[in-house]
Symmetry: C2
Subunit: 374 residues, 2 copies
């Protein structure tokens, strides 16, 4: 292999693929990146066996070939180089990297030993704006539970119904759901569970730049693909196994009606919850007194060793007054995902589920259970 490519392009490529490359004692080659010169392209690939990322860019390939080298070291070297033309040359099991007055030789491992997840474009396919998808995913992904005991809730649920996509995540204490729309007519309704790490990589890789993503579904695998702007050729592919199992019927938990509806300033509500959290105890309890007459939410917390806290903020309140307690972290997590300046907070009694929603945006909701009065 012998090829040349500009430093800033290669730097972009290695930063796209590098995060999933991990040191695994039983299969050390997984900490490597596969560097391949083929046709008019440089192709970089990494995998953790569950998930594979491939990246291509146009390059001047004088001779084809491939090799794997340690991902982190390769990335560090490329990042230190000036933004000039880089030469990549494979010599036996070494990758030579040259750029102006810098010359590096990197010991590699044969490309043939590198595991490649096969790409399938069978099955259903949709097309989706990358930023819309990533914004939606990022609003739910951190709610999913990293637990291995219940693998199905460790992932992000996707349900496709005609042009509607429902994305949901839960850790059994709270639940977030985002609705997206797409244009393709699907032949049937279906659902899948995307691993948490895959969702995070999709957000990292496709979230920054607006592009049209093609998504291909086969029974146990999903493929996200973006195209080059210059020519019809894939730019980035993320392929991932799906999580098997039945996702809990989360929609049953979403309250159909409220007893109390509160509309308040998101920033001020969040600030008061965080202040109150300074005095909350081990169970993170902060309590709320909803006063429809005064149009006010009062926030209280106390700690026998530190002291006590009280604050209040004005709110538009419909329905019953109530006193209710929440884990402040769960409330703050939900508020953090709401992007509007005002938030709707709906309660169904002091022991029923509560809902947070952006005011004027029906596409997102966050359900959280109160702390039961002891």
């Amino acid at each position: 292999m012998y090829l040349t490519i500009k430093q800033e392009i290669l730097k972009n490529g290695i930063s796209t693929v590098e995060r999933i490359s991990q040191k695994i004692l039983s299969l050390p080659i997984l900490q490597n990146v596969l560097v391949k010169g083929e046709g008019n392209f440089l192709n970089l690939s990494t995998t953790n066996l569950e998930l594979g990322i491939k990246w291509w860019a146009l390059a001047k390939v004088e001779s084809e070939g491939q090799i794997t080298v340690p991902t982190r070291l390769f990335s560090d070297i490329i990042n230190f180089l000036p933004n000039k033309i880089i030469k990549l040359e494979k010599k036996d099991s070494t990758l030579n990297i040259e750029c102006e007055n810098y010359r590096t030789s990197l010991f590699g491992q044969a490309a043939e030993e590198f595991p490649i997840i096969p790409i399938s474009k069978e099955g259903e396919k949709i097309s989706l704006n990358s930023q819309k998808l990533c914004q939606g995913l990022s609003q739910v992904v951190d709610i999913s539970s990293p637990s291995v005991a219940r693998p199905e809730i460790s992932g992000i649920y996707h349900c496709f119904q005609n042009n509607l996509i429902k994305i949901a995540a839960t850790d059994s204490f709270r639940l977030a759901e985002k609705k997206l729309f797409q244009k393709t007519l699907l032949s049937k309704e279906f659902a899948l569970i995307l691993p948490r790490l895959t969702a995070k990589e999709v957000v990292n890789i496709f979230g920054e730049k607006e592009s049209e993503l093609q998504i291909y579904f086969s029974p146990n695998q999903i493929l996200f693909e973006s195209q080059m702007t210059e020519i019809p050729h894939p730019a980035i592919q993320i392929t991932s196994k799906l999580i098997e199992g039945e996702y809990p019927n989360y929609e049953a938990i979403i309250p159909k009606k409220y007893e109390t509806q509160i509309i308040l300033s998101k920033a001020e509500f969040l600030n008061q919850i965080k202040s109150a959290s300074l005095f909350s105890g081990k169970i993170n309890e902060v309590s709320f007194k909803i006063n429809p007459q005064k149009g006010e939410v009062e926030i209280n917390s106390q700690n026998p060793e530190l002291g006590k806290y009280q604050s209040s903020l004005p709110a538009k309140i419909k329905g019953k007054g109530v006193e209710i307690s929440f884990n402040h972290r769960f409330l703050a997590d939900g508020l953090f995902q709401i992007k509007t300046s005002e938030v709707i907070f709906e309660l169904t009694g002091e022991e029923g589920p509560a809902v947070l929603k952006p005011l004027g945006d029906e596409s997102y909701l966050y359900v959280v259970m109160p702390i039961k009065a002891s």
Copy 2:
């Protein structure tokens, strides 16, 4: 005690004093801040017994008094409050903090139990521009060794000779020296060793804003004082014990002449050293070939498991060619403290000390020992 003060002023005060407040099991009150209303002032004090910080601001004091409360919690509360008038009120052993619709009660400890380092203004006194002093201190402080085995080199050496102040630090592998000038005529030459933490706090507290610092020296103690702009009253005082012992005669280590003098680009030199460091082994060795004929410095490193690195950069070279190795971290630390775009690098043979200096600035130098050829 009952007083009012604006949130942004109090926030500035607590951020000035809070860093040295630490949890110490044998004396838990040291994690508290002393809050005192006296005359027209709010005064905050913290100490770790070695070092004390006092801060004052004008406040509307309705009744005088004092109390200590946990520093971190007090700081967090003040930071969450809106930028409005804060009321501080002592009730028995509780400090009530009110600001608009926020009300907090903080359990405290009696002010009488709080240890206060006595302030002395006896002895010599000088006046110095705060930013000049802090810039100088920050160029040497990180070189001092945090070692407890040799307490004298854990501090920053200061030597006062007429209007010249020499500030030096070493960890026995490298040495940094900065020269400053001041206007006061001193009655005699003297020297002192300032604890590392005190130097860091002086830089943190007085480094940002230009002011005139008064510095008072007594045999075992130093006092840094800044004044309020509104009225002649101290704004901040840092008082610290000094380290006893004899500082090593570091000037004997500074080479009087060089065998090779190299002038090169600081940014490019640093970038190549950091790139080379990717292949350096456990002793951080990176080697340099100085070629006066080619006007070039070649940088090499290699690692039997990873590969090898070579780069070069143009340089103005006087004197002998030489091959020499350094610990890359020690070189990078020195280069990082040099603020000019070009740096002078002087060598005295492959085993003698090397010196880094900013080009055109005689006030700073950094001495580093090479790694001996094995």
